[in-house]
């Protein structure tokens, strides 16, 4: 897998998220309390809520529109709700956020 640098870890507030525009649609990048980053689809499968605007707690995010809660590691909806968001590889190296270059939507160099 090849990686692309999309910004500094500190560009995302702790327990917060930012979105990244990709050829495959908007991706939400989360920074959890333990300084880990996760990348998932930004779109809630329920009514399309922007997940990067949700409240981040533990390794979960709550959709801002109707409070669906997703596990950031598996992408699975938790609790009574049934649904799944796509997850993508992401990591932090030397304070920089790297995500899977496949999100460029073409063969990465």
């Amino acid at each position: 897998m090849s990686w692309i640098d999309i910004g500094a870890l500190d560009d995302i507030p702790l327990r917060g998220a930012r979105k990244v525009k990709t050829k495959l649609g908007c991706v939400a990048i989360f920074r959890t309390d333990d300084q880990t980053v996760f990348a998932t689809s930004n779109t809630c499968p329920h009514k399309g809520g922007p997940l990067a605007e949700g409240i981040v707690h533990d390794r979960k995010v709550t959709c801002p529109l109707h409070n669906w809660v997703f596990d950031l590691e598996t992408g699975e909806a938790l609790g009574a709700d049934d649904g799944q968001i796509e997850t993508f590889a992401a990591k932090v190296e030397a304070g920089r956020i790297l995500i899977d270059a496949a999100l460029l939507g073409q063969q990465a160099a």
Binding site: G7, I12, P50, E53, K60, T62, P64, V69
Partner: protein, 809 residues
């Protein structure tokens, strides 16, 4: 014999010298920029604190080098490496030939290039010279340490132990953020502050002030000046790669080495803090010793491979029991086990992955640290012992966690009932004296007899004191993170003086690492309402609307509503709104029920720009998105209306100007009508004022949402000034007491209208409420739109990156 030259005599090099001289066969020369041989750098902190002397931490004395036949060139810096000629040059300028060279230049402390960083008295914390500077301070002198990491805190504690007045300034929100999570960081800070060390987190340094070339004070970005005689920067280290880079060796963050510690030149090895191995750089000693061993084997022509192993951190500050080991980052499918004992100040957290422990943080009780570290290193399967794992190796069965630990841990003088000033000791006394029901305690002590919000706590005290003899009624907990109700949490935040979210999670025994979307906004509100000065609002604990200062719409766009004071506007403001609607292609412009204009369908990334345009015309945020004051609706009153009895528009504008920007448990809508015809519909608002000939009738607790409620009379007053005071006092009473997301009518139904009237009628209490509100407003009454107009903040509203553009290149 072949010539071996080693540059640097730090801890890794010291270990290497031992290995190679034991094996023999080398003519070894050891350079060191410091004028001495190897000593145990890690033990500088105990030397600083006075627990050890320098002599005790020397690991290689002159006699050692003599016995092993090592040529020592201490106090001499190597100025150049010539790889073609295979020589190094020291300060004497004479090239010294080598067959094999080992670079162990270690790392340099990072000095923040603040104005004044070159003043005398600004030091790092790296070597014996730095330590001696700190030891030279006299009791009562002042020192500032920038950096709340391991080294900074050890420096601070060491100087404090010598009687120095120490302040730690840390950029991040909690101490040692690389090793600790927020809860453990909170406990550590509490301990240090308790000792008398001043700790300032979330603070950025701006400038170092000096006089006659010597440091005098540190100036922070917020304007605070911290006077100091010595300023210690402990903000991190950088691998010292300059010499290697000049010699043309491959370097990145450190000097690149392979698994045999060989650099890009086969005859040059590198070890220690100056190297980079598979992208990793090093700061702890254990892997460095391993590198020395591998390098020695490589030099001897044996095969050895360096593998980076797990290492644990312990803070060397006497009395601070703290342990952190393993990995907290970059792993999928992980779970947490959290244990908190608020009474004893203990916090433990284990991170699990595939039934294995991969990380551990402990504070207060680290006795099991070694055992957990062992589990991490060995990758032991813990599925069998998972249930009791957190209790350590000795635990087999035992007490279950006590849900009443938080109340049990309260001291006897902690106030439980705020209305009647009843403390825990008095209630327990009454219970032990025979008051074995809630009613009994109320009759005896008045506790929970007024507003009733402390009922849950009194019941817990009954249960804790009487045991099974008391049956707890089921209280509705805030959420799955705690058994406590909203009322309990509010009360405990006040009585235990909890001033951060981490403090609430820890002291009240939260079962999750950092709450959830239900409790986080509530706790954030309670903290900022109760401690407006001490607590800092956390945007990440707010719903999207309050974080974005706009209302999110179903398609992900936002609506923008500028404030129109009392519904009054001007041609200029209307023009600015119209221009903004044009410029940002706003699809819908609507007049709201609150007498203002809503611009619907604005893109998230355009928000700062549209605010800036509106701001130029003097328009500020209308807080149409906030749990806070929304609108004060008015009719035209005596200015124009032939029926008007008072200046209702004027009072409405004054109320809105006084109350805007305040955060409340839920939204607050107001109205002022100029006569009982009530054109402003004041009788179904949270606060409604109806003007009459003889004065102002103030009612509260109206609603026209899911429930339809008419206001209940609060008071009738004669002057406009009194009307203002009573309304403000009511809003503050609501702010201090209501459960998060209870509108005033719901809260009044719980505490009773009589109680509300009594509190507001009491002149002393009314005055206190008005003053408390003014204090909060002095901090929170700011236009959030204007604050977000600068480029840096504005960028945060756009995407972090746009890869659709990169792909097109």
């Amino acid at each position: 014999m072949q010539n071996l030259v080693i540059i640097g005599a730090g801890m890794a090099a010291g270990r290497l010298v031992e290995h190679v001289t034991e094996a023999g066969g080398w003519n070894t020369t050891l350079f060191n920029a410091e004028p001495r041989g190897t000593y145990d750098r890690i033990m500088l902190s105990p030397v600083l604190a006075g627990d050890k002397t320098y002599d005790e931490i020397v690991t290689h004395a002159p006699a050692f080098y003599e016995a092993r036949g090592v040529t020592c060139r201490f106090g001499e810096r190597v100025t150049a490496i010539d790889r073609a000629a295979k020589t190094v040059t020291g300060t004497d300028g004479i090239p010294l030939p080598y067959d094999k060279l080992v670079i162990a230049t270690g790392s340099n402390p990072f000095i923040i290039p603040l104005p004044g960083h070159d003043l005398d008295g600004v030091i790092a914390y790296r070597d014996l010279e730095d330590t001696e500077r700190m030891m030279a301070l006299a009791p009562g002198q002042k020192a500032v340490v920038i950096g709340g990491g391991l080294l900074g805190l050890e420096a601070a504690a060491g100087m404090h132990a010598r009687g120095v007045d120490v302040t730690v300034v840390h950029l991040m929100g909690h101490l040692m953020e690389r090793q600790l999570d927020e809860a453990a960081g909170y406990l550590l800070r509490k301990e240090l502050v308790g000792r008398g060390i001043n700790v300032m987190v979330s603070n950025n340094s701006k400038e170092i002030l000096g006089k006659d070339g010597h440091v005098q004070a540190l100036k922070l970005e917020n304007g605070t000046e911290l006077p100091c005689d010595l300023l210690v920067m402990a903000v991190g280290i950088r691998p010292a790669t300059a010499l290697a880079a000049e010699a043309g060796l491959a370097t990145g963050r450190g000097i690149h080495v392979d698994d045999q510690m060989i650099t890009s030149d086969a005859d040059v090895l590198a070890i220690g803090e100056c190297v980079e191995h598979h992208g990793q750089i090093f700061g702890l000693v254990a892997p460095l010793y391993e590198q020395a061993k591998v390098a020695a084997a490589t030099l001897a022509g044996e095969s050895a491979t360096f593998v980076n192993r797990e290492t644990a951190t312990k803070l060397k500050v006497t009395g601070c029991d703290l342990f952190s080991a393993g990995d907290f980052a970059e792993a999928e499918g992980r779970e947490d086990i959290v244990f908190r004992d608020p009474g004893r100040g203990i916090y433990k957290r284990l991170v699990l992955e595939n039934n294995r422990v991969i990380g551990a943080v402990m504070y207060g009780d680290t006795a099991d640290g070694g055992w957990f570290h062992g589990l991490i290193k060995d990758g032991t399967d813990i599925a069998e012992m998972r249930e009791t794992l957190i209790f350590g190796p000795a635990f087999q069965g035992g007490d279950v966690l006590d849900p009443m630990a938080a109340v049990a841990a309260l001291p006897a003088d902690a106030e439980i009932c705020g209305c009647n000033g009843v403390c825990k000791g008095r209630i327990v006394e009454a219970i032990e004296g025979g008051a074995d029901t809630l009613e009994g305690v109320r009759a005896e002590t008045k506790a929970s007899g007024s507003c009733g919000t402390c009922t849950g706590l009194v019941e817990q005290l009954l249960s804790a004191t009487l045991g099974d003899a008391f049956e707890m009624p089921a209280a509705q907990p805030v959420c799955g993170c705690t058994d406590l109700s909203h009322e309990d949490v509010r009360r405990l935040i006040k009585s235990k003086e909890l001033k951060s979210q981490a403090a609430v999670w820890q002291e009240l025994g939260w079962t999750t690492p950092n709450g959830c979307h239900v409790c986080r906004p509530a706790v954030n509100y309670y903290l900022l309402a109760d401690w407006p000065v001490e607590y800092q609002d956390d945007p990440q604990s707010r719903f999207v609307n309050e974080r974005k200062h706009a209302n999110i719409q179903k398609d992900g766009t936002f609506s923008v509503v500028p404030r129109m004071w009392g519904g009054i506007t001007t041609a200029n403001e209307l023009r600015a709104i119209a221009d903004a609607a044009d410029k940002f292609n706003v699809p819908t412009v609507k007049v709201t029920g609150g007498q203002r204009i809503d611009l619907l369908g604005v893109r998230g990334e355009d928000l700062p720009a549209i605010w800036a345009d509106l701001g130029k015309a003097g328009l500020v945020s209308g807080h149409a998105y906030a749990k806070g004051l929304r609108t004060v609706k008015t009719c035209v009153g005596t200015d124009h209306c032939r029926f008007g009895t008072q200046d209702s528009t004027g009072l409405g504008v004054k109320l809105e100007k006084a109350l805007w920007g305040s955060w409340t448990p839920h939204k607050v809508k107001m109205a002022v009508s100029g006569c009982p015809r009530n054109c402003a519909e004041a009788t179904c608002k949270d606060v409604g004022v109806v003007c009459v000939d003889s004065g102002y009738e103030i009612g509260v607790g109206g609603a026209a949402g899911m429930d339809l409620k008419e206001i209940q009379p609060l008071v009738k007053v004669e002057t406009e000034e009194e009307a203002m005071t009573h309304v403000i006092a009511f809003v503050q009473l609501y702010r201090e007491n209501a459960k998060y997301l209870d509108r005033p009518y719901k809260w009044i139904a719980k505490v009773g209208m009589d109680w509300v009237r009594e509190r507001i009628a009491d002149p002393g209490e009314r005055q206190r409420l008005v003053e408390a509100f003014a204090l909060s407003q002095s901090i929170y009454q700011k236009d959030p739109w204007a604050e977000r107009a600068d480029d840096k903040t504005a960028r945060a509203f756009g995407p972090l990156a746009d890869l659709t553009l990169e792909a097109a290149e």
